[in-house]
């Protein structure tokens, strides 16, 4: 038993719903109690989908338990088939139905429905949403796809995009055009927008583009083995990764590695003098493994940030992230407990967080700017405008998105110059960010001020005390670098066994860390 307040991932059947909802002409019969229908709103509200997820819930109640939940399931499956006439049906159980052991898969198979029925085994008490999506997609592909003659023209399948994915909609468009520039067509995009009939055609492609390993890696491996479809290993987020991706595709297909970078602005924007202030910004990365790995490279090599920590919430990617963290010389944090993430961020005191909506809230609480790079998604992650993460435009979008939360270069100087100005002072924050975060919006319990959390925390065990004059001097430093200054000074003092920080110590430390 584990006490949880907020979770990064839903249960595995929600992953299955992400696949089913992304597809067309597929129906999901889910053995589940009525309350589980809440999951519909994720799709209709967060993603603003204009149709109901294609899910029939059996909504059994306590009074059905002793009686006949199995029949309830059969009726629901038959009604769903008749009403929706899908090309294929997936069936499964939610956490509660798993306990009553009705075996929906077995029952559905004996019903003689005239379309393929694909049973799902999703262990609700062990696995989570990403696993559910990955496993569901794999089962669908395995049941429906067969080896086929390859298309005359070179084509690829784009695999992995689902409903409720982080910018999946726009990544598809971006990659389609990137491949088109290389003279490569798209055979099938799946699960997003695919019908079961499309899944059956997947074998005709020459290779797979694995867009999101979280949701399609198992299917990719299976297709590599059974359908002779190699798959790309690079996720084309960030300029370097895009170039690697193009090279990978060129190697599969024998095409030349063409990349039309006439619209690519990230490298110049990053090189232009206005971006100098980005140098060495200390960033902390957290999200799903794929987006974190891509963001790390982009942050260090293309933005000139310093990566001070990274981690992911999906254990499936733990190995990759640990390895990557080692390359970056930082500790990997693998956890799905947001409190641990919050602690890590507090301890590292980064200047920016690249995370999920959860970290955005942590950032608000601690007064650290945050840009969102990964699911779990929020209604804000489905902007009306085109804003991919992948490909050329994705790189441009990311540059803007990451720079936005930071105080802009010129403004940084102005803030410093006018730090005592009545309206342009320290606590005002960047002018384009509206008001500062309101803490604990619905909770009356007082929160400790972020400053209070900033008490000396020394690895050496020596307690460091700030003298009042030094504390006052510290306040004169603009708020967006104050955390760093405090931290550096404390480390500086601790390393030297100094237990009282004076104004002198503060400036000694400043000189020491100058770069």
């Amino acid at each position: 038993m584990k006490l949880t307040v907020w979770t990064y991932e839903g249960p595995p059947h929600v992953g299955a719903m992400r696949v089913a909802t992304a597809m067309k002409d597929l129906h999901y019969v889910l053995h589940a109690p009525q309350g589980d229908t809440y999951a519909d709103l994720l799709f209709t509200m967060i993603e603003r989908r204009n149709h109901r997820p294609p899910v029939t819930y059996t909504t059994f109640q306590a009074r059905d338990l002793g009686a006949d939940t199995a029949n309830l399931f059969k009726t629901a499956a038959r009604d769903a088939y008749e009403r929706f006439t899908p090309q294929a049906i997936i069936v499964g159980a939610s956490c509660t139905a798993e306990l009553i052991q009705d075996d929906p898969g077995g029952m559905a198979e004996t019903m003689g429905l005239p379309v393929p029925v694909i049973p799902l085994e999703l262990p609700s008490y062990q696995r989570k949403e990403n696993f559910g999506a990955d496993e569901t997609f794999y089962q669908i592909v395995k049941s429906l796809a067969t080896p086929l003659q390859k298309t005359a023209h070179v084509t690829a399948n784009l695999i992995g995009p689902t409903a409720l994915g982080f910018r999946h909609r726009d990544d598809i468009t971006e990659l389609t055009s990137l491949l088109a520039d290389m003279g490569i067509g798209v055979n099938v995009v799946a699960p997003y927008g695919a019908t079961p009939a499309d899944i059956a055609r997947m074998g005709a492609a020459h290779f797979n583009v694995l867009m999101y390993p979280e949701t399609a890696e198992t299917a990719a491996r299976w297709m590599e083995r059974e359908l002779d479809l190699p798959y790309t290993k690079t996720v084309p987020i960030g300029v370097g990764a895009i170039r690697d991706f193009v090279a990978e595709v060129a190697a599969f297909t024998g095409r030349s590695a063409t990349l039309d970078d006439s619209r690519l602005r990230l490298p110049w924007y990053s090189a232009s003098v206005d971006s100098t202030y980005l140098t060495g910004k200390r960033v902390f990365l957290f999200g799903d493994g794929t987006h974190v790995a891509a963001a790390a490279r982009l942050a260090r090599d293309e933005m000139g940030f310093e990566v001070v920590g990274m981690g992911c919430y999906n254990r499936e990617q733990a190995r990759n992230i640990r390895k990557l963290a080692k390359d970056y010389g930082v500790e990997a944090l693998i956890t799905d407990d947001y409190l641990e993430v919050e602690q890590a961020i507090e301890a590292l005191a980064p200047e920016m967080i690249l995370g999920t909506q959860m970290e955005r809230h942590i950032g608000k609480r601690l007064g650290i700017p945050c840009a969102v790079i990964s699911a779990p998604v929020h209604v804000q992650d489905f902007p009306a405008r085109y804003s991919p993460q992948m490909g050329i435009e994705g790189a441009n979008v990311i540059f803007d998105t990451w720079v936005h939360p930071l105080v802009m270069g010129l403004e940084e100087h102005l803030l410093h110059m006018f730090r005592d100005d009545f309206e342009f002072h320290d606590d005002a924050g960047a002018s384009h960010h509206g008001h500062k975060a309101k803490l604990r919006e619905m909770n009356a319990t007082p929160t400790p001020e972020p400053e209070a959390a900033d008490q000396p925390r020394m690895e050496t065990g020596v307690a460091v005390v700030w003298l009042p004059t030094a504390e006052k001097e510290l306040k004169k430093i603009p708020f967006f670098v104050r955390g760093k200054a405090r931290r550096n000074t404390e480390n500086f003092a601790a390393e030297r066994g100094v237990s009282e920080i004076s104004v002198e110590t503060l400036y000694e430390a400043k000189a020491h860390y100058a770069r």
């Binding site: 584990k2 307040v5 309350g35 008490y125």
Partner: protein, 426 residues
């Protein structure tokens, strides 16, 4: 506008369409979202699965990040396989929680579908934990599971579980029952107080130490129509219910206040003195917002059990026509007075078969459809105008000063649809 007294035959005995198909409703756990705000020293610990945690998170929206006063003890393989004693595990998690949150004075252990299917005895757990952590912390259990409860029935189950723990009193008193936003509750207390009615207690109270007691001389008025179990529990304690239409809109509020006032022998004169001004204000406010609602048709999908009182408000005070009023349950003891006031005509449906009900809604093409979040955007995309039902339980809508806001919640979607234009000017 029609008067309360001119009732016609009413709908209390109208036939009810009973349906038992797929339901598209929340489970009782969802009530925790507003209960935890109302009871400021209470923590709601759901004993359930990742699904339960995800439901709470999705229903609450990430807006209330920070550390809320609810959480889910997620059952794991080891708990299910009997490898770990679930009672011990729970005791450990509760111990940790209470250590971290000394401000917690009431702990609710909330049952879920998984905890009920594996027959985890939360009553026993609550007793043991009360013994260990009492008297500082009182531990109470109730079910919010989807196999036992629908949406607002979670609040009902919670309040009903509190009733047996209330101290006994012989005092003649009024109890208001139902978790209302503070602003609304204060208005109600003020109106009743100015009529000279008292003492008044409120269940649930904001804090564990606020005295709420009950006994044979207690009379109680419900402020929410979904409190059937609580009604029964209070009756068992000897308290007497004051049946009344629910206090929505000017007429509902007046009828509700009138019923309470009559119980306490308040004169017409005093009643008028206290209510005339807010009544007139409410009438004006409703009339303004109701302009767009006049003669429009409305269709309710089952959600919170507020459907019948709200349909009464919309048909009597806003001039709407109800096509179908669906409710998860229809407790006539509670909503009967509202049904008495409704003109015959609408279909009353209890329970749900969502696909059949959608067929009926599509055929009727109502001007306004009141439904859950899972259905709203899909129906909008089909050209129907919708109002999300959940907002009705989160927003202050009771009593006079909110009557205009309540009408506004329904008129806004219609006004909005009329406003939006994206075609070329010519």
């Amino acid at each position: 506008m029609k008067d309360v007294t001119e009732t016609g035959r009413g709908c209390r005995n109208a036939p009810i369409l009973k349906e038992r198909g797929q339901r598209e409703v929340f489970c009782g756990l969802t009530s925790i979202i507003w209960l935890h705000r109302k009871m400021q020293d209470a923590f709601f610990l759901v004993v359930g699965s990742r699904t339960c945690a995800h439901l709470l998170q999705s229903a609450a929206g990430v807006m209330i990040f920070a550390e809320p006063r609810f959480g889910t003890a997620i059952l794991e393989e080891t708990d299910l396989a009997g490898m770990a004693d679930a009672q011990d595990e729970l005791a450990r998690e509760v111990g940790r929680l209470l250590e971290r949150r000394p401000d917690i004075r009431q702990l609710f252990l909330v049952g879920s579908c998984p905890s009920e299917v594996i027959k985890l005895d939360l009553e026993k757990a609550a007793e043991k934990l009360s013994a260990r952590h009492g008297p500082h912390v009182r531990v109470i259990n109730f079910s919010g599971s989807g196999i036992e409860t629908t949406f607002t029935e979670g609040e009902d189950a919670c309040l009903a579980a509190m009733v047996p723990t209330l101290p006994e009193t012989e005092e003649r008193q009024l109890m208001l029952v139902g978790a209302l936003p503070d602003v609304v509750q204060d208005q109600a207390l003020d109106l009743l107080g100015r009529m000279g009615i008292g003492p008044i207690t409120v269940l649930p109270s904001a804090r564990a130490d606020d005295p709420v007691d009950v006994g044979p001389n207690t009379v109680f008025a419900l402020t929410q129509p979904f409190l059937g179990e609580t009604h029964a529990a209070l009756t068992r304690r000897g308290a007497n219910h004051i049946p009344a239409p629910f206090p929505f809109g000017e007429q509902g509020t007046t009828a509700w206040l009138r019923a309470v006032a009559d119980e306490f022998g308040i004169s017409d004169e005093t009643f008028a003195q206290v209510t005339d001004a807010p009544r007139a204000r409410a009438r004006r406010a409703v009339a303004q917002a109701a302009e767009v609602l006049e003669d429009k048709s409305v269709f309710f999908f089952p959600d919170s059990q507020l459907e019948i009182p709200l349909a009464r408000f919309l048909t009597r005070e806003c001039g709407m026509q109800a096509v179908e009023v669906g409710a998860p349950f229809i407790h006539k003891d509670l909503v009967g007075p509202d049904m008495d006031l409704m003109a015959e005509g609408p279909v009353f449906a209890e329970g749900q078969d969502v696909d059949l009900q959608l067929d009926r809604a599509r055929a009727a093409r109502p001007d306004l459809t009141v439904c859950g979040l899972g259905l709203a955007n899909p129906l909008e995309a089909e050209g129907l105008t919708t109002k999300w039902a959940i907002e009705l339980v989160f927003t202050p809508v009771h009593f006079y000063e909110q009557a205009g806001d309540l009408a506004g919640l329904f008129s806004r979607p219609l006004r909005r649809r009329a406003l939006l234009r994206t075609e070329a000017a010519e």
